[in-house]
Amino acid sequence: MEKFTTHTGRAVPLRRTNVDTDQIIPAVYLKRVTRTGFEDGLFAAWRQDPEFVLNRPEYAGADVLVAGSDFGTGSSREHAVWALQNYGFKAVISPRFADIFRGNSLKGGLLTVLLPEAEVEQLWQTIERDPTTPVTVDLVERQVRYADVVVPFEIDDYTRWRLLEGLDDIGLTLRHADDVEKFEQTRPAWKPRTLPAAG
């Protein structure tokens, strides 16, 4: 995974709540067997509307998405994270993320930042007034900064460390392979196995 320390870019206001993963990328776009090429499916239905915020020229090239509450609800498809990344987004800011989407984003290096609703509203107003406003998402300092505003955000130390170092979770777990082996010795014999196939 690529390291994430700090990122500065322009931001796009997505004034919608409950942006589910079927909106982020509809199911018909999930048939690829690679991790790339999902940008075509990003917000596919909404992007057909020329007035949709991602289609507006003043937000072209913006790479921080600022959305309403409950972003990423629904399906567990990690393709939603890949679609946002493939399109160019580095970070998403919202007052609340769905758990699975948040987990997927932080595994894949797309920084999801929780800010209170009032702060999101203020950020929306700022970037609507001046779409060229640079917005900094700083994982080192755990801050979002723009204009003269500095807003702290919370993220647990472990996840922050993984992102700052760009560490691979599987590699981290494999350091504890002995613990896994020991645990396996203690599993009850009656726990089911899929092999050989019974019945």
């Binding site: 999930l30 048939k31 991790r35 567990s76 994270v81 769905a98 987990g103 595994k107 777990t173 089911p192």
Partner: protein, 466 residues
């Protein structure tokens, strides 16, 4: 201090716990399907890693599969490639696969319980958010992303932060004609699509105890629609009776040892939950959604809400948007909403009891003119059982289409889709914009409401047919 069911199952699976780090949890069962696994297998190959426990892993083909001509290759070349990729990966890594045409093929969350692989006290994961279904057995079961699928394949573990716990207590008895689908739709409308975020839900109370295993699965299945990754119900005699004799259930002395352990998997009397919601079953009625998320629902007797009566501007905007997408006018009686399609199926309501309930309504009746009705069993085993009972005849005589097993119109990855502007009553789990096909409009309903709606062509309950 006492512990909740979720805490007990969690603690039994902690491989490693360290200050300031997520717990490393052992995973008892990993379910796989074609959509969320290819990139995970690629990751293994790139890193030169193996699947640690193929014997705790099982795969099926469900999301892309057509529900007609299942003995033919998949016509959609991209879908076919995805399915063939799963076949290659399972062969390479030694994973059991139930492919199209196989007697045990079906929706991943239908076949696990059916085979007896889903058991109380297990940790179960799948790259699919409706993995919460398996919580009906008192398992801790949750959906994961593809990176986590790769992690489980490689290590049979997952690093996880312990969630909070929320009790959903449903007291009393359900009135006639009210199902577990109505319970969960009412719960989601009450706590919202984010209400369960960060929690494991435990469904409790008399009304839950009285439910069959299949009805319990319907409730746990939609926990994710309230934002909770997992929902659980403590195992009891109903659970044990369902499991006994299934192909992968323990037998003989193992069965006794397992049941003795399973009986300990209840929330202690002195345990506390981080949050609690109480619902009176007697007040519930058939419930349907009118909007574009599963929290936007109301009793069938209600009307489409009026956004101008909502004071919160964000909420008002969300309702306005939903009504515009759904093509609905405020104040319209939900019973006056006409549908084009009825979909009976999915991991929420594609089990034999669901088909029986719908067939009982349709028996001797006809589908309304101009309404298309798709009946898609959740698995090939459900299909065979239904055919043994003659349910397929009831559906076909009423004018419905009898299909083979798969996810089908729940998410429209196969050819079963709504056309733009088309409206459905669907027993599935999500009414998101375009979920069932681009521009399609979905009303989530129970199998009973689906069947009655098929007859009248408008959102209806069986009691409307008398």
């Amino acid at each position: 201090m006492g512990r909740t069911l979720a805490e007990k199952v969690w603690q039994e699976h902690v491989v490693r716990s360290a200050e300031g780090e997520p717990d490393l949890l052992y995973i008892d069962l990993h379910l796989i399907h074609e959509v969320t696994s290819p990139q995970a297998f690629d990751g293994l190959r790139l890193a030169g890693r193996q699947v640690r426990r193929p014997d705790l892993t099982i795969a099926t083909e469900d999301h892309n599969v057509p529900t007609v001509d299942v003995d033919q290759p998949i016509a959609d070349i991209v879908s076919r490639t995805q399915v063939e990729t799963l076949r290659k990966n399972c062969a390479e890594f030694g994973i059991r696969l139930h492919q199209m045409g196989d007697a045990s093929q079906g929706i991943v969350h239908v076949i696990g319980p059916q085979l007896g692989l889903t058991q109380p006290g297990m940790t179960i994961v799948c790259g699919d958010s409706h993995t919460s279904t398996h919580g009906a057995f008192g398992a801790l079961a949750f959906g994961i992303g593809t990176s986590e699928v790769e992690h489980v394949l490689a290590t049979q573990t997952l690093p996880q932060y312990k969630p909070k716990t929320m009790a959903i207590t449903v007291n009393g008895a359900l009135p006639e004609g009210v199902t577990s689908k109505d319970i969960i739709l009412a719960v989601i409308a009450k706590i919202g699509t984010g209400g369960g975020q960060g929690y494991v839900l435990e469904y409790r109370g008399e009304a839950i105890r009285a439910l069959s295993m299949e009805a319990r699965m319907t409730i746990c299945n939609m926990s994710i629609e309230a934002g909770a990754r997992a929902g659980m119900i403590a195992p009891d005699e109903t659970t044990f009776a369902y499991l006994k004799g299934r192909p992968n259930a323990p037998s003989g002395a193992d069965w006794d040892a397992a049941v003795a352990h399973w009986r300990t998997l209840v929330t202690d009397d002195d345990a506390t939950f981080d949050a609690e919601v109480v619902i009176d079953a007697a007040e519930l009625t058939p419930f349907v959604t009118w909007g574009t998320n599963p929290g936007q629902g109301a009793p069938l007797s209600a009307s489409v809400p009026d956004p101008s009566a909502i004071t919160d501007p964000g909420e008002r905007g969300a309702v306005e948007r939903a009504l515009e997408y759904m093509g609905l006018q405020p104040g319209t009686k939900l019973r006056d909403i006409k549908v084009d399609t009825v979909f009976l199926g999915s991991c929420t309501n594609g089990r034999i009891e669901d088909l029986r309930a719908a067939a009982a309504v349709l028996k001797g009746r006809k589908v309304a003119d101009g309404v298309r009705v798709l009946v898609v069993p959740g698995s090939m085993a459900v299909k065979r059982q239904a055919e043994t009972e003659g349910l397929n005849q009831v559906f076909v005589e009423a004018g419905a289409e009898w299909r083979s097993a798969g996810c089908s119109m729940c998410l429209g990855m196969n050819p079963d889709q709504l056309a733009p502007g088309e409206r459905s009553a669907s027993t599935s789990n999500r009414n998101f914009e375009g979920r069932q096909g681009k521009g399609g409009r979905t009303h989530l309903v129970s199998p009973l409401v689906a069947a009655a709606t098929a007859v009248t062509g408008r959102l209806s309950a069986p009691s409307d047919l008398d």
